[in-house]
């Protein structure tokens, strides 16, 4: 009897500890969000989005160039990654079970695990060093390399979820494999793939490390992809580690913009996923 009491007590204690660990993990999340919102909201104003950085010592100014730069670099990355990610995902899903498909999957998982700073070093050596110039294009390439495995895996897994009857129907109507895949199977999975791309974009837009020595930074407004470009994340890094109070203020504002973007994308993706799941069930 006492032994059973003991066993039950141990069970209760451990259940409480598990619940406690959830709380422990949510504390830093709440703290980070609280500080970013509290510090960011007092620093965020219209001029943050419309003005250029002021020289050291002058108060005010904004990150207009960095915001535009982040958008450019992220879109460059997406343009590079989406075709490669989707097509290799189609291959892995269509030829699932073959040795080559396993190799692609393995390569994607490997790429997904490569530290982002190492991807920066890689792009530096192939896109910066040969032309001896940092550029927005190099930054876009670095972000693109990071996006590829995310898009490839999402595409593959969503294609495998498409009911086989759809494809069989297309084939029975006389479609070739390419026709069946691109006019029936891929469109059926498209909402999910787009959601995956949205999540990947949000993730990649928050990257700093791969941009430090590819896109570098630019004090001026630039849309030239062959020139160094300023990005929001690198700007936050520079401002946060500098000894000026007004720059710290702007770093918090930049962080708030980043977190808001990530939150909106995650929520959108969540809504889309929930809707799709309902659709599949219903």
């Amino acid at each position: 009897m006492t032994r059973n009491h003991w066993r039950r007590a141990v069970s209760h204690v451990i259940i409480v500890l598990c619940g406690l660990s959830v709380v422990i993990a949510l504390i830093p999340l709440a703290l980070v969000l609280f500080y970013v919102v509290a510090q960011g909201i007092t620093s965020l104003n219209l001029s943050f989005f419309t003005e250029m950085p002021k020289p050291v010592g002058e108060v005010g100014g904004g990150m207009a160039n960095a915001i535009v730069g982040s958008i450019i670099v992220t879109l460059l990355g997406a343009m590079f990654a989406i075709p490669i990610g989707i097509m290799s995902g189609v291959y892995a899903a269509e030829y699932t079970g073959t040795r080559m498909a396993s190799a692609v999957r393995f390569a994607a998982d490997t790429l997904n695990g490569v530290p982002s700073i190492v991807i920066g070093v890689f792009i530096y050596s192939i896109a910066v060093l040969p032309v001896r110039r940092f550029s927005a294009l190099a930054g876009g390439l670095a972000l693109g390399v990071m996006m590829i495995p995310l898009i490839m895996r999402t595409t593959e897994e969503l294609l495998l979820l498409v009911p086989a009857t759809l494809r069989e129907g297309a084939l029975a109507l006389g479609a070739t494999r390419a026709r069946a895949v691109f006019t029936v199977v891929v469109p059926a999975a498209l909402p999910g793939i787009l959601t995956g791309i949205l999540l990947a974009l949000a993730r990649i837009a928050g990257e700093t490390a791969p941009l430090l020595f590819t896109a570098l930074n630019n004090r001026f407004f630039s849309t030239d992809v062959r020139q160094p470009i300023s990005t929001l994340t690198v700007q936050v890094f520079i401002y946060a580690t500098a000894p000026y109070r007004d720059w710290h203020r702007q770093a918090w504002a930049g962080a708030l913009v980043l977190v808001t973007m990530v939150l909106i994308c995650s929520l959108l993706a969540r809504v889309a996923t929930a809707r799709m799941e309902k659709l599949h069930r219903g």
Partner: protein, 320 residues
């Protein structure tokens, strides 16, 4: 509905060739990373050989390049982070997959995924202005008898190993816990039912499930370790960036990823650049090995372990 293409066979071959070309490109990128890193570190490899990893002095101005402090800092901070994060991550995985009511599961999964989605730079900013001052207070409050212990020696700077380990732990938790959760989900329900039928308490049944899933759990923890090794921005901002080997949690130290982030764009000569790329190459190899082993562990749990919800895979990348 579909006009029959003139030659079904050609169409099939073409389809396979085009999608296959992109697949090969993806594999090629991974191979190119390895090759580029080796090629761009050749000067350093030729000049220093193994002594590069056995020397403690890092003085680029004097042309002295010893990378041992960086390896130490990377391994030490990652191991510490894992010691902190593993019990919490497992607790979360158990709570979500075994204990939480269905209505609580989704919000909790969303919140832990949010923890993974916050960009590294934001953690770093928060680290500098919130965590580091808090750690400094803790260090000041350290009683004198404890300061004698090598683990807690040194001036109260705030920045240093403890801050880095804490922030890394926060960032690693969502990765380990989400993989561990998927692994636990793959444990057949009959395992738990069997345990209950034999009179097991709730924890004893969970322990059965954990034992059943042990290889996958080890894989999940190792995956987190791989993340911690390569994490860059947040660590760079709080670890103090001082290349020294110290066991003290209070000492400012340096990691491989951090030295790349700080010094790469300013490498003034070829040897300096190649020395930095060599650090990147070893970091690449380390994470590669850890990742391959952890995926083997997770896969050996059986194919059913693969996440069923496709989108569960998308957020599996840290914003570093």
């Amino acid at each position: 509905m579909f006009s029959r293409s003139p030659n079904v066979r050609t169409d099939e071959v073409l389809f396979r060739a085009v999608t296959g070309a992109f697949a090969i490109l993806l594999i090629g990128i991974v191979a190119a990373i390895g090759l580029a890193l080796i090629s761009e570190s050749r000067l350093s490899i030729a000049q220093f050989g193994w002594s590069f990893w056995q020397t403690d002095v890092w003085d680029p101005v004097a042309g002295e390049f010893g990378a041992r402090p960086f390896i130490w800092g990377t391994l030490y901070s990652s191991v510490l982070a894992l010691l902190i994060s593993t019990p919490i991550a497992l607790g979360i995985a158990i709570f979500i997959s075994e204990l939480a009511p269905a209505s609580l599961k989704r919000p909790l999964v969303f919140l832990t995924e949010l923890l993974a989605a916050i960009p590294s730079i934001v953690y770093g900013l928060w680290g500098i202005f919130v965590l580091v001052p808090a750690v400094r207070q803790l260090q000041i409050a350290t009683p004198d008898w404890l300061r004698g212990v090598p683990l807690f020696s040194g001036p109260p700077l705030g920045v240093g190993m403890l801050s880095a380990a804490l922030i890394l732990a926060i960032m690693v938790i969502p990765f380990s816990s989400s993989v561990a959760r998927e692994v636990l989900k793959a444990v057949p329900q009959s395992q738990r039912e069997g345990a209950y039928a034999l009179g097991a308490t709730r924890w004893e049944a969970i322990r059965m499930a954990l034992f059943y899933a042990r290889t996958g759990i080890v894989g999940a923890i190792m995956l987190g370790f791989g993340r911690a090794l390569g994490e860059t921005m947040a660590v760079t901002m709080v670890i103090g960036n001082n290349p020294q080997i110290s066991a003290s949690l209070y000492a400012p130290q340096y990691t491989m990823a951090a030295v790349l982030a700080n010094e790469f764009a300013e490498a003034t000569n070829d040897l300096y650049l190649h020395a930095l790329v060599e650090i990147g190459m070893v970091l690449f190899i380390m994470t590669l090995i850890i990742n391959v082993i952890s995926r083997m562990f997770i896969w050996s749990m059986g194919r059913q372990t693969r996440p069923r919800r496709a989108l569960a895979h998308a957020p599996a990348r840290s914003a570093a």
